[in-house]
Symmetry: C2
Subunit: 369 residues, 2 copies
C-alpha cells in the first residue's frame, strides 16, 4: 500500500514514525513549508531538497483560481509543474475561501465566493474541492471544511456539523486512497465535547490521516495547548495527526509533546520577507542596528547555505536595501531551522528524551520574551 | 604579476584572451553580471558559479552610500562580504552620481551631490573614488570619469578634458596595480577626434586596462557601432578593452567583432524582473498568452537550472502571480544565455569563425524585429 503510517517509537504522547507516500517517505514528526502558489516563496526546489524538506504544502484555493487546476493537470500535475518530486499536500481551499475571498453565500451544499484576484464568482463544494485536488495531484489531499474562530460556541457547533457532513461527501467522492490519501479535518474550536463529536464522525469514515483544524486562528497559546491535550487523543493512534497552520518553534515542540505528527505554516518564509530569522535564542530582525557590523552568521550551529556563507552584517545590508537575495537566504535558513528542530525532536523521541529537549529548547528560545 | 592579459587568438579585430587576477582567471571576451548593491539581484553566488560567471561588477556609488565602504572594509572586503570568491570589478561612481543623484555642484575638483536614498550630502573626487574602491577591495577598479550624453560636442569636449585630468589624479592616487588594477576610461561620445584626444592622454598613464565609456547612453545602435569602429583601435592592443554598460545580445557580438573584450550590463537581471527572457529567437515575455500551456522550457539548448527543470507555463504562472522564484529563475537563465553567447564567441574566435557565428546568431536573434 502506497500510504502507510509506521509508528516507530513513542515518548509519552509524542510519536516518531514514517508516512510512506507515492513520492517518498515522510519522517514524522515533520514540518511542511508552504508553497501557496506552487512555489515556496523565493526558494527553488533544489534548495528545499538540500535543507531536508520532505513534504511541501500547496493551496488549492490559490491554484484553482490561478493558473487553474485543469491547466496544472494538463501540464502533468503539481509535482511536474513545480518541479518538486517529493510528497505534496494540498489543503481543501476551505480556509482561504473563508479568510481571503469575499463570501457571497454559505449553505449546506457549499460556498459561493468572489476571487480576491479579479472578483470573478466561483463555487466550492466538497465534491468540487476533491475534484480540484485530484486535478492538482498532490499525495495528500484534505476534506473540505468550515474553519470558524474557535471561541464562539454557537458558530463552532454549526461548523462542526457542516464539516462532518462535508467530510462524508468528500469520502464518497474520493473513496480510494491508493494514489492520493484523503485526510479528514477535526473541528470543534476550544470545546472538548465538540472536538469529540467531530472525531466520532470522522473516525467512522476511516481516513488514512486526520488533521486538527480550527486552532492557531485567534485563541491564546495556553488555549491551543489545552485543546490539544484533549483533541489529539481523540484521533486514532495508528494514523498520522496533522495540526494545520502551526509553525512557531515553541508551538511545534509543545504540539509534538501532545502527540501531533505533522505541521505546516507560512511563518518561516513570511518572517523572512520581513527581515526576521529564527535563532536558538528567539527570532531576531536583521534590520536591528546590533547586526550592522556582525561578522557572525545567524546561527553558528546551522548548516544551511545562508549560515555557511553570509554574515549578519551582509544580511542586514540586503534587508535594508530591499534586495531579493535576502528573501531567499532568510527563507532557506528559517525553513532549515524548523526542519532541524523537527529532526532533533524525532531523535529525542527515539531516545525517550523529548521532555529534556523541549525544556532546553524552550528555555533558550523563550529567554528574551 | 597578478594582473596579466594574455592575448591568445585574434579573428579580424576580435580577440580571445585571459585576464589573470588575484581572484582567478577571466576568459575574454567576457560578460560580467551586475551586482549593484553587492548582490546580483535574486541570484546566489553559488548559482553564478554554476552558470559559469567569472567576473562580477558592483557599484561604488551604491555601496559607498549603503552600507558604506568602511563597513565593507571592516567586514573583510567585498569578496568576503558578498561571498563571491571570483574576480570583482567596481565602477568609479561617476556614472551613478550623474544619473541617480541630485547634483549640487560639479567643478574640476569633483562632484557634490545628494544621496538618492536619504538626501544626505556627499562629495566624490577622483581621490575619494579611488579610496572608496580600495576599501571595497575589488580586483579591477575604475578611474573617476564624467560621462555625458554622447552627441552634444561642446559638453563632450569638456567631459573629455575633465576625465583626462581626473584619470591622472586617480593614477597618482593608485600607482600600484599589484593588488587592484586601475582601468582608465576613454570618453569622447561619438566624436572621433575627442576619442583620440582621450586615448592619447590615457595611454600616457599606462593603465593595465581601458574602458570605453559614454556609449549606450542615448545614441543609436549604428552610431555606437560606428564609434567603436574608430574608438577601439585607439586603445593598446596588449591590454583588455571594456565597453561599459552594454549587454544586449546583438550589441555584444557586434562589439566583440570590433575588438572589445569585456562587458557589463544590468539587462539580463532587469528584464527578468519584468518577466522577460532571452531566447535564440529574440526576447520573449513570459506573460504572453502563447506560453500559458507551453510544456517546453525557455530554450531547449540551454543547460541552466531554469531550462533543465521548468516549463514556460510554470514560469508564466510565477510571473503573473508576482512570485519571487520567477525573478531567480529568469535571472539565472538570462545571465547563462549571455555567458554562453560569450563562450561561443570565444570558441569561434579560436576557430577563425566569428563572422559566421555572428551572422547566424544575428539572423536568428533579430528575425522577429
Amino acid at each position: 500500500m502506497a500510504f502507510e503510517f509506521e509508528l516507530l517509537a513513542t515518548d509519552g504522547r509524542a510519536r516518531a514514525g514514517i508516512l510512506h507516500t507515492p513520492h517518498g517517505d515522510i519522517p514524522t514528526p515533520i514540518f511542511a513549508p508552504v508553497g501557496t502558489q506552487a512555489t515556496v516563496k523565493a526558494v527553488p526546489p533544489r534548495d528545499l531538497h538540500e535543507i531536508g524538506a520532505s513534504l511541501v504544502l500547496a493551496n488549492t484555493y490559490h491554484l484553482y483560481l490561478r493558473p487553474g487546476d485543469e491547466l496544472i493537470s494538463e501540464m502533468g500535475g503539481l509535482h511536474r509543474f513545480m518541479a518538486w518530486d517529493g510528497p505534496i499536500l494540498t489543503d481543501s481551499g476551505g480556509f482561504q475561501v473563508f479568510s481571503l475571498a469575499q463570501i457571497n453565500k454559505i449553505d449546506d451544499q457549499g460556498v459561493t465566493f468572489r476571487s480576491h484576484i479579479d472578483g470573478s464568482q466561483h463555487r466550492l463544494t466538497p465534491e468540487k474541492s476533491v475534484q480540484v485536488q485530484e486535478n492538482l495531484g498532490a499525495d495528500i489531499i484534505m476534506a473540505f471544511d468550515q474553519c470558524p474562530l474557535p471561541t464562539d460556541r454557537s458558530i463552532v457547533e454549526k461548523a462542526v456539523a457542516r464539516t462532518n457532513a462535508w467530510a462524508a461527501r468528500c469520502r464518497e467522492a474520493h473513496p480510494d486512497d491508493t494514489v492520493q490519501a484523503l485526510f479528514g479535518i477535526q473541528q470543534g474550536g476550544i470545546f472538548e465535547d465538540l472536538r469529540e463529536q467531530s472525531s466520532i464522525a470522522l473516525r467512522a469514515l476511516d481516513f488514512p490521516g486526520y488533521a486538527i483544524g480550527g486552532l492557531a486562528v485567534g485563541e491564546t497559546k495556553p488555549q491551543m495547548y489545552a485543546a490539544l491535550d484533549y483533541a489529539v487523543p481523540m484521533l486514532p493512534q495508528d494514523k498520522p495527526r496533522y495540526l494545520m497552520g502551526v509553525g512557531a518553534p515553541d508551538d511545534l515542540v509543545n504540539s509534538v509533546l501532545r502527540g501531533v505528527d505533522m505541521f505546516d505554516c507560512v511563518m518561516p518564509t513570511r518572517i523572512a520577507r520581513h527581515g526576521a530569522a529564527f535563532t536558538p535564542y528567539g527570532t531576531t530582525n536583521l534590520r536591528n542596528l546590533e547586526h550592522a557590523r556582525a561578522e557572525t552568521q545567524i546561527d553558528d550551529t546551522c548548516s544551511c547555505y545562508c549560515c555557511q556563507n553570509f554574515s549578519r552584517a551582509y544580511l542586514r545590508h540586503l534587508v535594508k536595501s530591499g534586495e531579493l537575495l535576502g528573501h531567499f537566504l532568510l527563507s532557506v535558513h528559517n525553513i532549515r531551522f524548523l526542519l532541524r528542530h523537527m529532526e532533533q525532536m524525532r531523535q529525542a523521541i527515539f531516545q525517550g528524551a523529548l521532555r529534556d529537549y523541549a525544556d532546553a529548547f524552550l528555555a533558550r528560545y523563550l529567554q528574551n520574551l
